[in-house]
Amino acid sequence: MDKFEIIIIGGGHAGVEAAFACARLNKKSCLITNSLSDIGKMSCNPAIGGIGKSHLVKEIDAMGGLMGIAADFAGIHFRVLNASKGAAVRATRSQSDRVLYSNKVKDIINSEHLLTVVNCEVSEVLLSNDEAHGVKLTNGETIHSKKVILTAGTFLNGKLFTGEEEQEGGRIGDKPSKKLADFLLSLDLKSGRLKTGTPPRIAARTVNWAVTKEQPSDFPRPTMSFVTNDRVHPKQMSCYITRTNTRTHEIIMEGIEKSPMFSGKIEGLGPRYCPSIEDKIHRFSDKDSHQIFIEPEGLTSKEIYPNGISTSMPKQIQQRMVNSIQGFEEAVITKYGYAVEYDFFDPRELNHTLETKKIKNLYFAGQINGTTGYEEAAAQGLVAGINASLTIDEKQPWVPKREESYIGVLIDDLVTLGTKEPYRMFTSRAEHRLLLREDNADQRLSPIAKKLGLINDKRWMNFNKKLEDIEKEKERLKNFKLSPYQINKLHKKSKAKRQTGVSAFELLKRPEITYEDLCEILNISPEKSEIALDVTTNQKYSGYIQRQKKEIKKVKKNENALIPEQIDFNQIEGLSNESKQKLSLVKPKTLAHAQRIPGLTPAAISLLLVHIKKKSLQKDNVA
């Protein structure tokens, strides 16, 4: 077969984003998947975005990725979460038509002429001297490459559980990648087990919609990508809400010992924040009802996805439980819920580029690193794809920073903290949350994307136009001084304190004054909503933003304090064995990075400092 520069194993959300990034950086690459039809498949609920996650999608989009575009082309329901709260924590969530989504992803992937898609199964990664240089397929063939990106998702030693039934697989109807898993286990990388689950799917025609609560798509309809608009959205559908009740909970409690989660069959830890219904009822026994979002699976799908009752109970119990719920009395289950338990590798054995520390040229991205969610997977795929490409060109890698993007937070958290449960993004994970908004993802990342060559000139021009418009709007508002009459009006409207001699721009800082109020009172036409939002938010946040920038500067000082690469943490005098182990595993490159390692005391950090200073003194003396 041909020689490729980069091989990507897996066609899930991490795999396609990695492959697309490689293609955009002009790398001849090969995506190998077990199943061509499953490229870009949404194996859990058909939703993209949500709080913290939509931030990732917008950032991937700003870096020229495909997820946001596909979500817009496939989105049949859009909603802004936290709409009443400040801009930093507002988040877009979309429901996708599964088929449309996967087709759009395939379209994008197939239009890249440097990218070859191969339908095969990989059995091992070719190694020599701890360097990867290609893969071996189960049919015995080998394909060579300079880099290998592994995005095997939940397919490594995947086990599916429904009640007491147990079968091997990464997703219902798919075989697990056992050979590859065995090979990877032989590499002596630290691994663990995690679990995740899905709810039963229900035939849409059997739902009694009349007793559920409708939740229509938002208007104006938001988009996931900076380069699309709502005209690319297909027809919109509503979501519906129903609830569990005491009867449901009784049915579950009766059969709880049959759940593999409780019988001890599943060892892996599930996500605390996305628990199965049996877990929720067990843990929050004082609550007699839980909310269920009934999500459409697609325009043509005959199934619905009842979000909130993920379960691995025996089929018969699932049926009774579903039928006990209002609106589901006559519901027919089309696929039973199940839990998946799978291998993941300790992400602390990765560099910030997602290259493994042990094996050069081998990158890990996606669920294999202990994350959950399409968005988290895609973000890692992007980072791995970009860095694999950059290093081939002998360029500096792209290490996204915590203060620059949620992608940076994600990567840094993974490689520094590792994870015990499936890692999901939340806004509270980002200490610079106020700077990392959905709406300014393009401002934060476009210059980087442009420099790396990930976005085209047209997009760059449009982006610069937006920046100009923002500046113009700021100037316009700065030049408006309110008349006493206008101040009075503003006071009546928003109970704002009367203040003279202040510009409209200054007034925007006050929490009670909105952009719309100002435009109305000044009798001026409002700018486009994205421009208005940016100007307003930056004013409202200005004091906080200044302080965050100060904090970043302070951290930067320690971020610039480099830990020598050849350091042997075991040689540090006085350091406890536990601290030595932690440092040796994470191998922090900067003092700031070391400080983020959980459980390292200030005393341990001081010892590290003393050691480094001493070593550098010795070096100076020799020199």
Partner: protein, 434 residues
């Protein structure tokens, strides 16, 4: 940078003559010293009497007390040598141990080792420094309480309570779609209660800082009203040149005066005349203004001839009128005094203590808060008051940001973040031997 694994030695008692001096040795393994001293076994926590040959014709009878690491102050093996309190003997002992392979310790090295080996928290190390430098009983008590970990515990409690408040906010932000308790009013009440509790604590800490570092007082007012005289009276010293020529005081003069149990650091400023063209005097005015922004208390002195003088200060201020003996009508807005006749001074002293708003329990519950701490505590207070003023559910993310910063700042009290701070300041400000 110091070596941290060799054996260090220093005299731990004050230099000078006394009944006993204490020489302390710390190192990872002191068995080698035992051999050289011909003591068969150094036994943990056992004192032995031993004659040490210091030079050819001189032996000193010492008491050796051994502490086996990690159960010692530094976490290493520690040997304490008590000898007769003569600097010459101490030097001879240290010399002879240096010959045996010990190194003279630098400032703060014993504490540094204690910190590094997890025997002392950063706050405790600071408290040791305070304890040793205590000048009065209150300081002593306060630093002892800090050393016992009470201050740290208090900070930990605040961090814990903040965490609870933050959890409410963060879950409302990150799980707004789920059914979680959305009781903003209740949250605001909890936040305000917390802020109040914290402010009380700050007042206590301020009081502690007064105990430890003294109260900075600026004496200000128009020229030639007797500011320098007042300073001399309060200090019982002839500190500034007192004359009848207006503008005699050009530089800032600092003296300390003890009133009650508190040290007042008095700063006598140049009489502020903004009109002066004299560069030296201008400089004095500039310094005075800087002092005014950093002080704890202002005493504004006028005399009966300059009653209309009145400055604006954003600090607690005591207004006093001198030369009241020269006028028949009293100024009700000021303390009436005559420095010449020594009247009104006691009233002023009482007022100075009063203005500090010291808690009644001063010295009972206070901690040895340093200005490093009070500075951070003040920043926390600002974050909390900003959060309390955000009165809208729409600003959850901003309140959350205030509380996150507050929590970080409290964390910094326990242990500074930046590398320079962490290693630099406190340990090098220590004396040798601590």
């Amino acid at each position: 940078m110091q070596n941290i694994s060799d054996t260090i030695i220093a005299c731990s008692s004050p230099l000078g003559r006394g009944a006993i001096s204490l020489v302390r040795i710390s190192g990872p393994n002191l068995t080698f010293l035992g051999q050289k001293l011909e003591v068969k076994n150094l036994i943990d926590r056992k004192a032995i009497v031993k004659e040490i040959q210091l030079n050819k014709d001189f032996k000193e009878k010492c008491v050796l007390t051994f502490f086996k690491g990690p159960n010692s102050f530094t976490g290493e093996d520690v040997l304490e040598i008590s000898c007769h309190g003569n600097p010459l003997i101490v030097e001879l002992i240290i010399d002879s141990f240096v010959d045996l392979g010990c190194r003279r310790a630098g400032p703060g090295e014993f504490s540094l080792r204690g910190f590094i080996n997890g025997k002392l928290s950063y706050l405790e190390a600071e408290a040791i420094d305070d304890l040793i430098n205590s000048e009065n009983e209150l300081q002593l008590k306060a630093s002892a309480r800090s050393l016992s970990g009470a201050f740290e515990k208090k900070i930990d409690n605040f961090i814990g309570e903040l965490l609870k408040l933050r959890i409410y906010l963060e879950s409302n932000i990150d799980f707004s779609d789920e059914e979680i308790i959305k009781d903003f009013k209740g949250f605001k009440m909890n936040l305000n209660t917390f802020a109040k509790k914290f402010n009380d604590f700050i007042e206590d800490s301020n009081a502690s800082r007064y105990l430890l570092e003294g109260v900075k007082v600026v004496i200000t007012g128009p020229p030639n009203v007797g500011k320098s005289t007042l300073m001399n009276i309060l200090c019982n010293k002839n500190a500034s040149i007192v004359s009848e020529i207006s503008g005699t005081t050009r530089d800032i003069i600092q003296r300390s005066a003890k009133i009650g149990n508190i040290n007042f650091l008095l700063h006598d400023t140049a009489g502020i005349t903004n009109t002066s063209e004299d560069p030296i005097e201008k400089e004095g005015v500039f310094l005075a203004q800087e002092l005014l922004t950093n002080c704890d208390l202002v005493i504004e002195v006028v005399d009966v001839f300059s009653r209309e003088y009145s400055g604006d200060y954003d600090k607690p201020v005591i207004r006093l009128e001198n030369k009241s003996d020269l006028s028949n009508n009293l100024n009700k807005e000021r303390i009436n005094a005559s420095f010449l006749k020594n009247t009104g001074i006691e009233e002023l002293k009482l007022e100075m203590l009063e203005k500090l708003n010291l808690p009644r329990s001063l010295g009972q519950n206070t901690f040895s808060a340093r200005s490093r701490h009070t500075k951070l505590l003040k920043m926390v207070k600002e974050e909390l008051s900003e959060a309390s003023n955000l009165d809208s559910e729409n600003s959850l993310e901003l309140i959350a940001e205030n509380l996150r910063c507050a929590s970080n700042l409290l964390g910094e009290i326990k242990s500074p973040y930046t590398s320079d701070e962490l290693l630099g300041e406190i340990f090098s400000s220590f004396c040798i031997g601590k």
